[in-house]
Structure formats: C-alpha cells, structure tokens
Amino acid sequence: MVRVEFLGPIQKEPLEMQATSLHEVSDTLSKDEEMKRWLESCAVAVNDTLVASLDTPLKSGDKVSLLPPVCGG
C-alpha cells in the first residue's frame, strides 16, 4: 500500500491504495470528481522528492504528496 497525502488547501484526508507506479495513482484519483481540478494544477512528490514522470515506480510504504499552486511570502 502507498499513502497519498493532499497538502495545503486540498481538503481531503490521506488515502491508502495499492499502486506500483504513479499511473495507478492517477487512474484512481481521476475517478474522484472533487479531485479532477486539483490534478490539473498539482505537482507530485514521492517520499518528499518532486517527480516528473508517471512511470515513477512505487513500493509499499511510499508516500505520494500532491502540492497545489503555491504562494509564499
């Protein structure tokens, strides 16, 4: 199982799901209507490192974080 966390303004509790790559995370979250708009604008980190490919492999215990648009300062 991987843990998916939603950061900042995304009002959603963490999810646990079976996934061996981000493709599966994408497929699962795309079925969630309230998540669709966030998927357009979120960056993704695996174990606190930003990633750029859906082919990023996942193993049990990994943490996937969704980071919506930022505005520090």
């Binding site: 900042g8 303004p9 497929d27 980071l67 930022v70 505005c71 520090g72 300062g73």
Partner: protein, 148 residues
Amino acid sequence: MLELYDGALDVPTILERWYAEEATSNYGAYIPFVGTVRAEDEIDGLSFDIYEPILNSWFNVWQTKAKEAGAVVKMAHSRGDVLLHESSYIAAVFSPKRRVALELIDTFVEDFKASAPIWKYDLRDGARIYAEDRSTPIKGSGLLKGDS
C-alpha cells in the same frame, strides 16, 4: 539558515541577529528583502501553510548555489496568521561584493515565489480563503491528470 515562526516575524530582531552573525565574516554586502502584509481587498490579514520536508530540500539547494557564489542566503517565514502591516517573510543574502548579492536576492525570491511549498490564505470575516488566483503551479504540475 531557514527559520520558521508561528505568526508574524519580529523583523528588527531577526535582521539584527543575522547582521551580528555575519559581522566578522568579511562580507561586503548584506541585502535583506522583507515581505509585509498590505491592506487591500478588505482582508484582515494572511495565513500560511508550509510543507517543511520539501521546503527544507528546496532551501538546501539554494544554500549550495549561494555557497558556490561565495555567498550566504538566509530566510525566515511565518506559519499561521499574519495581520495587516505585519511581516511574514524575510530573505537575505550576504556576499563579498554587491553584484552577487543583488542578483542572488532577485533569483532567490523569484524562485521562492514559484517553487517553495507554502500556501497563502486571505483572512476575511473570520474565514480562511485560499489565495488561488495569486498562486503559481510548481514546475511539472499536472502530472497526475494523466494519460487516461
């Protein structure tokens, strides 16, 4: 050096301490940038969420870049609520000569705005409202919208 505080920053104390920390480091330039909450759009203040693990790794990359230029970068930021005319952000660069510090403070603050995992909310009538229209997607965003 990255410092996070609950609520508004004590700007004079932080700037004075940073100055003292580098007073004998032989830097010729100290350029601070202070971000202060302005009264606009009838807000009562701003509020911030921070994701520290990625903020720390982002800042470490900048520390390395600064070191390669012979400089030091320092940053302080608020968590939670910061009211009008209070400050939520300080960035500062120390370097041997002014040109490096002037350029570094510019590129550092711009990348901070585009990349640091911090979320801003307007405080208005007791509500905390995500400042979505003023926020920037981090580079590479949209990955999970997927291929289906």
